[in-house]
Amino acid sequence: MRSRWQRFRESFFLYSFLRDPMAYVSFAIIVVLFIGAFGAPVLAPHNPYDPTTIDIMDSELPPVWSAEGSTKFLLGTDNMGRDMLSTMLYGMRISIIIGVGAVALQAFLGIVIGLLSGYISKLDNVLMRIADVQLSFSTYMIAIFIGAIFQTMFGVANYEKIAAPLLILIIGLAEWPQYARTVRASVLAERRKEYVEAARVIGLSKIRIMWRHILPNTLSPVLVISTVQVANAIMSEAALSFLGLGMPMSKPSLGSLITAGFEYIFSGSWWITIFPGFLLVLLVLVINLMGDWVRDYLNPKLYKG
C-alpha cells in the first residue's frame, strides 16, 4: 500500500495543478497574502490598533522612495499617522475573515435549503421562488438594503461595535441562493439514482439519506462556487465599507481604508487609497483565477465560457 503522500504525488490533481502556470502562481500569491494577513501581529512593523504607538505628527507621510518619505514607514502613513503597510495587513485579515465567514454562512444556509427543496418537492416551489426573487434583485442590492436596515435598527454607534459579525450576517443572507440552486440541481440529479433507492429500501430516514448519502455527492459543485464566492464576499464587504455600512475606521478593512484615503487624494496623498486598493484587487484577482482553475479541474462541463 502506497502512502498518502505518494498517492498525492502521482495524482492527476497535482499534475494538472503544476501544468497550469496561472494556477500555481495564483496559489503562491494567495499563500503569501494569507501568511501576511494572519501573521500580521508578528510580521507587521507597527500595531495600528495600539494608539500609544501612533504619533499624529507622522500623518500623511509618503512612501519611502519619495523625497519626504521616512524609512520607518515603508509605504508611508495614513491621515492618522498609522503605518500603511501594517494597517493594510491587519485590514486584509479582517477582509479575509469576513469573506470566509460570510461564505461559510451562505454555504450552510444554501446547503440546508437546497437539500430540503431538492428532496421535499412540497417545499421546492416556495423556496426556489424566494431564491429566484432574491437573485433577480442582485446580491449587492440586497446586501446594501440589509446593511441599511441593520444600521437603522441598531444606530450608527452600536452598528460599528458589532460590524464584523453583522457584515458576515448581511453578506451571508444576501448570497445564499447561489448555493441553494447549485445544491438543489445536483440533489435532483442524485435522488433518482439507485443508491438512493437502495438506502430508502433499507428503511433509512429521510434526514439520514439527505445528509449521509446525497450531500457528499453534491459537494464538488459547492466547492467550485465557494472559491469565487469568497472573492465576491470580499468585494461586497469592501463596497459596504465604502458606503459607510461596513467596518469603522478604528478597525479598518481594506474597503474602509480605501474610503478613508479617498478624501486625501485631492491633496496629492494618493498612497493612502491606492495601496489598499491595489491589495484588494490583487487578492480578489488571484482568488478568482484560482476559482477558475478549481472549476476546470473538478467539472469541465459545469459552466460554459
Binding site: R129, V133, L135, S136, F137, S138, Y140, M141, I144, F145, A148, I149, Q151, T152, M153, V156, A231, M235, A238, A239, F242, L243, G244, L245, G255, I258, F262, I265, F266, G268, W270, T273, I274, G277, L280, V281, V284, L285, N288, L289, K304, G305
Partner: protein
Amino acid sequence: MGLPFRLLPKKHMFAFTVKRIAQALLVMLIISMIGFSIKSAFGDPVRELVGERVTPEERAQIRERLGLNDPFMVQYGRFLKNAVQGDLGRSFFFKKPVTEVIIAKAPATLELVFCASLIVILFSVPLGIYSAIHPKRFFSRFVMGGSIVGVSMPVFLTAIMLIYIFSVELKWLPSFGRGETVTIFGWWESGMLTWDGIKHLIMPSIALSSIMLPLFIRLIRSEMMEVLESEYVKYAWAKGLMPRRVWLVHAFKNTLLPVITVGGVQLGIMVAFTILTETVFQWQGMGSMFIESVERADTALMVSYIVVVGAIFVVVNTIVDLIYGLVNPTVRVAGRK
C-alpha cells in the same frame, strides 16, 4: 417539452402571462410589507411632521390622530392604499413628500444609467464578436485578460483611479457633481444638453460601465462560440455565404436572446452600482440620496427608495420573462409544470 413551437396552443402564453403577473404582484406585496414594517418600527412620523420641539402630550395627541395606535394590519392597509395613489410619506430632512424628492432625483440616475448602458453596448458587441471569431489572436487574449481584471476591480476603485488620473493629475475632467443642467419638459433636469454637463457625465458613466462591460464581453463571446459550432452555421458556411453574413446574421442574431435575458437581470446590479458610483462622484441622483437618507435616519425616504427600486425591478424582470416566453416556447411549458 418536445412540441414544436407551431403546435403549442395560444392559451399557454396567456396562462404564463397571468401567472407571471400574479407572481410580480405578490413580490411587490412582500416588498411593501417589509418596507412598511421597517418604517413603522424605526421611523417616527410625528418627527417627520412637526420636528423635535413638541410636548409629549401633543405628541400623543398627534399619534392618536394619525392612527399610529391602530393594529398593524390596519396601518399596513392604509399605507398600501396611499402607496397605490403615489403617496409614500414625507421626508423629514427635505420637508417634502418623498415621491417629489425621488422624482426630482431620478433624472440624474437615469441619465447616468443610460450613458453607461450605451458604453456597454457599443464596446461589448464588437469586442465579444471579435474574440469569439478569433479566440487565439493576441488582441482577443488581451481583451479576455483585461475582462478578468475588470471583474476583480471594485467599481468605486475604478472611479477613484479615474478621478486621480483625470482630475487630480491631468486636470482634464471635473471630479464631482453634475455641472450645468438644463430643465426640459418642465421638471427633467438634464445634464446631457450642455458641454459642461457632458464633461461631468464622462467619468461616472465610464466607472459605472466598467463593471458590466467585462461581464457582457464574456457572455457574448461564450454564447457566440457555442453558436458558431452549431449545425446551421456549418450549413451556412457550406452554402458559401460571405463570412460577415454568417457571423452577423446567422450567428450573432441567435446569441441575442440569452444576452437580452441576462441584460434584464443585470439592470439590478447596475442600480446597485449607481449607489456606489454616485457616492464617489457626489452625483445628485437617487443612489446618493439613499445613502444620505440612511446616514440621516430619514426612514421614510429610505423605505420609499427600496419600494420604488423594488417596483422597477419587478416590472423589468416580468417584462423580460414575458418576452423570453414569447420567443422561446419551452419556457412557458416548463413554467406550467
